[in-house]
């Protein structure tokens, strides 16, 4: 057993981190929130060049995967930089279409997902809204054992995280129905949960780093506020939550790679831990930045706003906790 990332996996993470840092992601997030998708599309293309989306697509369709652990490593970095868009949904759609059987949809969409040419939405698990349907090239909606490809969407609704643009999928033509749809949707939901957890982990790490930097610089009563025990303990608890969530995320990815049918509880556990850790990190960041943290203008706000929706996306903590115990 060697329960540590390989040098290659860590190097991949560093490369993505460097690229996203250099790209100026905060401006992309603000543009995306305003409905301007061009900078986001450009970033999506850069991500595709690094192979991120190919990791979600089987080799038979021009991909490199599916490689859940490498995807989790990548999505941790996407979360660290708060990259906008239906990143999780596109990877989950790849998982879904791959398992759907002979509908032609896999042939049509998987190569495009792998190359970064297609942004794809997926609405399953009874979710009422599609994420970023206004930016997506296709949105698949699963209801029970039926899947539709929708043609339209309702108005984009204001959301707690403006970079998560929600709308109701409308109309659509039935692609196929039957038990294969349900099975594919379960697998896609597990994939989505895992990658949401990974994103939350990265987002939480970034929130913690930013806050640690702030409390070292910010002085009150003539000393850095990071020297106050109350501040120290709050940050220590945030680090604890993140440190113990990370191995759950990695183990869940290994479980999905090895035995997709049995990975549900492991993935649900990772989702709960990473989602709560990220939420804790956001609350800590907000509190320790004080009024700065409650302000829209600093880029910190882009991350704080993301934490709560990520915690709840693809299965609320309560749903995931029930899944852990259901076994």
């Amino acid at each position: 057993m060697r329960f540590l990332l390989t040098d290659e996996q860590r190097e991949f993470a560093r490369t993505l981190d460097g690229m996203l840092g250099a790209f100026g992601t905060p401006a992309v997030v603000r543009a995306w929130a305003a409905g301007e998708h061009k900078p986001g599309r450009d970033l999506w293309a850069r991500l595709a060049e690094t192979g991120v989306f190919a990791l979600a697509v089987p080799e038979a369709y021009g991909g490199l995967g599916p490689l859940p652990l490498e995807l989790a490593v990548a999505y941790t970095e996407l979360g660290r930089h708060a990259v906008p868009g239906p990143l999780v949904e596109t990877a989950a759609a790849a998982a879904f279409l791959d398992r759907l059987g002979e509908t032609g949809a896999a042939d049509a969409w998987l190569p495009r997902i792998a190359s970064g040419d297609a942004i794809v939405g997926l609405c399953a698990d009874g979710a009422p809204f599609a994420l970023d349907a206004d930016a997506a090239d296709a949105v698949f909606v699963v209801r029970g054992d039926t899947v539709c490809r929708t043609e339209a969407h309702g108005p984009v609704q204001p959301s707690l995280d403006p970079a998560r643009r929600l709308s109701r999928p409308l109309g659509g033509t039935v692609l196929t129905r039957g038990p294969a749809v349900t099975a594919a949707a379960t697998y896609a939901t597990d994939t989505a949960r895992l990658l949401t957890a990974a994103q939350a982990l990265g987002l939480g790490r970034a929130l913690l780093d930013e806050t640690v930097g702030h409390v070292k610089r910010r002085t009150q009563f003539a000393v850095p506020i990071g020297s106050f025990q109350a501040v120290q303990h709050r940050l220590a608890d945030t680090l604890l939550a993140l440190e113990f969530a990370q191995p759950l995320v990695h183990a869940a990815a290994l479980a999905l790679a090895r035995d997709a049918a049995g990975a549900g509880p492991d993935i649900a556990a990772a989702k709960v831990a990473a989602g709560e850790a990220c939420h804790t990190a956001a609350r800590t960041a907000l509190q320790l930045h004080g009024a700065l943290g409650y302000t829209d203008e600093p880029d910190l706000s882009l991350r704080i706003r993301k934490a709560r929706p990520l915690r709840d996306a693809w299965g609320t903590p309560s749903e995931c906790r029930a899944r852990v115990l259901a076994g």
Binding site: F3, Q9, P224, G226, Q232, L239, F244, P247, H250, V324
Partner: protein, 389 residues
């Protein structure tokens, strides 16, 4: 990255499981915090040692199996899953033995480790003093030079296992008036039945004498029982302090076993509509799983030549709070039966959680309080400026 055990690790697991299946007592032993239970647990240590299962990570020459850290984790998983008794020899095995391996002399190892492994000599730790808890360097008990050894005087307290143990180890001030409080300390071993030693048992919250006060009045200790260099006791103690907070005191096995028992309790007894309780059960289960994986990651890091330093503070806070969460959730699931104390007629029928519950309450206090651990995490792992204590 993988979670696959090697064939050798699997074989180790199989052998441990087979032995435990054969040997774990069918009825639980009485609490080791009672005289009767202490004796029964000492017998259990002897039985473990007879087949070299009492100190698996030690070299074979000292009665161990030379097990790797990962094999040790595997053994502990099997041990607690089998419902085997708590380890009365734990203080010696996890605190004193690593110190002897690192700083002891050949003679000390030859003399001390064998009887420790068999339970013939049970060790108590004697760190704390009435005015010196988490601020260990403030201790005042003295070691004064005499012919061929040292005379120990002063008072130690909250000394775990000392009510029934044979010997103890601790730090003593051997050079008064040093500039810094952690200078001039010496690490010594001493017998609890020597002239000049008075042991006064202290009842913990449930009244059981789980620890004791030690009064020392010019207790003679030969030079042979000094570990490391006199005056350098702080560094000797600190080099292995991570063991106490880190993996080797609280292996994941005990928490995964408790989480499995808790899950069974939930499925057997709970109202599925009680989602608040369900969420707490799930969180405890998730915590135990996280702790296990975190331990595997650390074991992998160490096997790859890495080291653990302040990271053991993360471990300590996490396991101690997890232990309380597991037990409190179990008591809540049990409702009125959760208030049955250890020894009650009906307690075994409901899983005997009370003793573990009381034990868990001490977790955030000993081995350096969790408040101190959080300071260490903040300052050494997050790099925050040192605060006033």
């Amino acid at each position: 990255m993988d979670l696959d055990f090697t064939a050798a690790e699997d074989a180790f697991r199989t052998a441990a499981r087979a032995w435990l299946t054969e040997n774990v007592p069918a009825t639980p032993l009485p609490s080791l915090e009672t005289r009767e239970g202490f004796a029964a647990h000492r017998d259990w240590e002897r039985r473990l040692a007879a087949d070299r299962w009492s100190v698996v990570s030690w070299p074979e020459a000292y009665g161990g199996r030379g097990a790797s850290l990962l094999q040790w984790l595997v053994f502990e998983e099997e041990y607690y899953a089998a419902g085997a008794p708590g380890r009365v020899g734990q203080n010696g095995i996890s605190l004193l033995a690593p110190t002897l391996f690192e700083h002891g002399t050949e003679e000390q190892r030859a003399r001390v480790l064998g009887p420790m492994a068999t339970g013939e000599v049970v060790w108590a730790q004697a760190w704390s003093e009435p005015e010196s808890g988490s601020d260990l360097a403030s201790l005042r008990s003295t070691a004064v030079r005499t012919d061929g050894g040292w005379l120990l005087s002063g008072q130690k307290t909250w000394s775990s296992r000392a009510a029934f143990a044979d010997r103890a180890f601790g730090l003593f001030r051997s050079e008064p008036g040093t500039d810094k409080p952690h200078h001039g300390l010496t690490y010594l071993m001493f017998p609890l039945d020597a002239p000049g030693v008075t042991v006064r048992p202290i009842g913990r919250l449930d009244g059981k004498p789980a620890f004791a006060e030690l009064f020392l009045d010019e207790v003679f200790v030969p030079d042979a029982d000094v570990i490391g260099e006199p005056g350098r006791g702080w560094w000797v103690a600190m080099s292995t302090a991570g063991n106490e907070r880190g993996l080797t005191l609280r292996s994941p096995g005990r928490f995964t076993a408790a989480a499995d028992r808790l899950t069974a309790l939930w499925h057997a007894a709970a109202d599925p509509g009680d989602t608040a309780l369900r969420d707490r059960v799930a969180d405890a289960v998730i915590g135990a799983r996280a702790y296990r994986l975190f331990a595997y990651a650390n074991a992998s890091r160490l096997a790859a030549g890495g080291t653990l330093g302040a990271e053991s503070s993360l471990n300590k806070v996490f396991w101690s709070e997890l232990d309380i969460a597991l037990h409190e959730t179990a008591l809540d699931l049990l409702g009125p039966y959760g208030t049955l104390a250890d020894g009650a007629d009906e307690a075994p029928a409901h899983g005997s959680w009370a003793d573990g519950y009381v034990f868990s309450l001490a977790g955030p206090i000993y081995a350096g309080t969790n408040e101190i651990q959080r300071n260490i995490i903040a300052e050494r792992l997050l790099g925050l400026p040192k605060g006033r204590r």
